[in-house]
């Protein structure tokens, strides 16, 4: 039986329509794809600033006297050394060494943590955490109560301080401060400087309005999910369902920096340690098209007429005009400068492996 469900609207749905957004489905959510154009919005974030409504994302709270021990046992990075103002990124690893999701963990108190997860994985992740809950651990899903906005771009600090004051001036990358019943964290998914602002849904519109009122003179634009994807691709940030899946390990995904194989056992750790010793068969790599053609997810990669991998993300990049992509390729073919073919609608189109990221801010 096929049950069609209406996509869920964002809390600021009407605001997006008012700003002229073209709405579209993203994993069951009705989100702004673009307001004016992906090209313009991508450029605005690279040169000025943009706001993203990412309220679809999920938020969990883990607390109680057993919270720290519970996370230490189940997460692939050390949690104990985290400071109360700190946030860290990591994959959530399954028992087979694959990735359930990628998450950001915020330490709020000695025994209280906020976890931000991908929208499409809220139920799966919550079940994963719930199944592992031990005594003295309370797990709460706040996803329906919280809204999340991202302010990104070189002018984001100027705008943020003008909106919310000098209290946020010394906020460092991957740190956060309390804000209006939520947090402001210096994090993002664009490769630019920026902030993610989490507040209860009821306060979301107020924050959105203040940011635009102050940001207008700095060229602040609302940014849709189209540019969010080209920005994160250019910054080589992996996206769940593309570069990250339950079948791909953090080592294959080039996320060894985001796990700690020296810590005590965590789900999948034995498999990952073994893979670290024996070596990976396939690897995430970046490539650039050298002939005309845009790579898209699922396109086969060939070397000398033989399949050697597949594209996971690909796009035209507005600021550089290049056609780039990320792919999993046989580890031995992942070397910079290696000439490959991307099969675009059945025809080989030349490309070359390039180092990641494609873009790094100055």
């Amino acid at each position: 039986m096929a049950l069609t469900t209406e996509p869920t609207k964002l809390p600021l749905h009407e605001e997006h329509l008012r700003k002229g957004a073209r709405m579209g489905d993203f994993g069951g959510w009705l989100v702004p794809l673009f307001y004016t154009s992906i090209m313009e919005e991508h450029t605005a974030v690279r040169t000025q600033a943009g706001i993203f409504d990412i309220s679809h994302m999920g938020e969990f709270i883990v607390e109680g006297p057993g919270a720290l021990a519970y996370l230490e046992k189940n997460l692939p990075r050390r949690i104990t050394p985290m400071k109360f103002s700190q946030a860290i990124y990591m994959p959530l690893v399954n028992d087979r060494g694959g990735m359930v999701d990628d998450i950001i963990v915020y330490r709020m108190q000695e025994q209280k943590f906020l976890i931000i997860v991908n929208a499409g994985n809220i139920e799966k992740d919550f079940a994963w955490f719930k199944a592992r809950v031990t005594q003295g651990v309370t797990l709460t899903n706040l996803s329906d109560e919280m809204g999340l906005l991202a302010l990104q771009g070189p002018l984001s600090q100027t705008i943020l301080l003008e909106c919310f004051g000098a209290f946020y001036k010394d906020l460092r990358r991957f740190h956060y401060k309390d804000f209006e019943g939520g947090v402001i964290a210096r994090t993002g998914y664009t490769g630019e400087d920026g902030y993610e602002i989490m507040v209860p849904k009821a306060k979301l519109k107020q924050v959105w309005d203040v940011l635009f009122r102050v940001g207008a003179k700095h060229g602040l634009l609302p940014i849709g999910f189209g540019a969010r994807d080209t920005l994160r691709l250019e910054a080589a940030m992996p996206l769940y369902g593309h570069e990250l899946t339950d079948e791909i390990t953090p080592l294959e995904a080039d996320l060894e920096w985001a796990i700690d194989l020296t810590k005590d056992e965590f789900p999948g750790s034995a498999i990952l340690k073994k893979q670290k010793q024996t070596g990976i068969q396939k690897k995430r790599a970046g490539f650039e098209m050298t002939e005309r053609g845009i790579p898209r997810q699922g396109f086969e990669i060939q070397k000398n007429g033989k399949a050697t991998g597949a594209v996971t993300s690909g796009s035209f990049i507005p600021t550089t005009g290049k056609n780039i992509g990320m792919a999993y390729v046989t580890a031995s073919e992942a070397k910079t400068g290696n000439a490959i073919d991307v099969m675009v609608r059945g025809k080989p189109v030349k490309a070359v492996i390039v180092p990641l990221p494609f873009y790094k801010r100055r």
Binding site: R22, M23, G24, L33, F34, S37, I38, M39, H42, G226, D229, T230, R292, G293, I294, R296, S315, F316, P318, N323, R345
Partner: protein, 130 residues
């Protein structure tokens, strides 16, 4: 939105301008707005045979690829090479500089199966709004 009276239209948003035995083909203003910024066009080759309602070219935006169908059957006689260097012509000038290919019509009766401007206008107005 502008849908010139002298063109015929498909339900997949191509237009065709018939001039004797030949015809030029492009996408409508509605389509270029839906696709948004066109960043890549794959053109058919002269001499290639195309069938009505079958893929003849590809237009890509930043996010996705869109198949362009031949409004009628025929043989490709020319393609708009200017689109390779400047695919944005499809957005800027969908009915003139943004034409995609030209073909020689093999079955003129097929033209009569296509929509008039008024019919297409109506079809577009009934399309689901986002």
């Amino acid at each position: 939105m502008n849908f010139p009276e002298n063109l015929r239209y498909t339900k997949t948003h191509e237009w065709i301008a018939v001039q004797g035995a030949k015809a030029k083909v492009g996408v409508t203003e509605y389509a270029q707005k839906e696709i948004s910024d066109v960043v890549f066009v794959e053109l058919p080759k002269a001499g290639q045979a195309v069938q009505q309602a079958k893929m003849a070219a590809v237009v890509e935006s930043v996010k996705a690829a869109f198949d362009i169908y031949a409004p009628v059957s025929g043989k490709i006689t020319d393609a708009n090479k200017a689109l390779e260097a400047n695919p944005g012509l499809i957005n800027q000038s969908p009915y003139a500089d943004g034409w995609i290919f030209e073909l020689e019509i093999s079955n003129p009766a097929e033209v009569n199966t296509l929509m008039t401007a008024a019919q297409y206008h109506e079809a577009v107005q009934q399309a689901p709004k986002h």
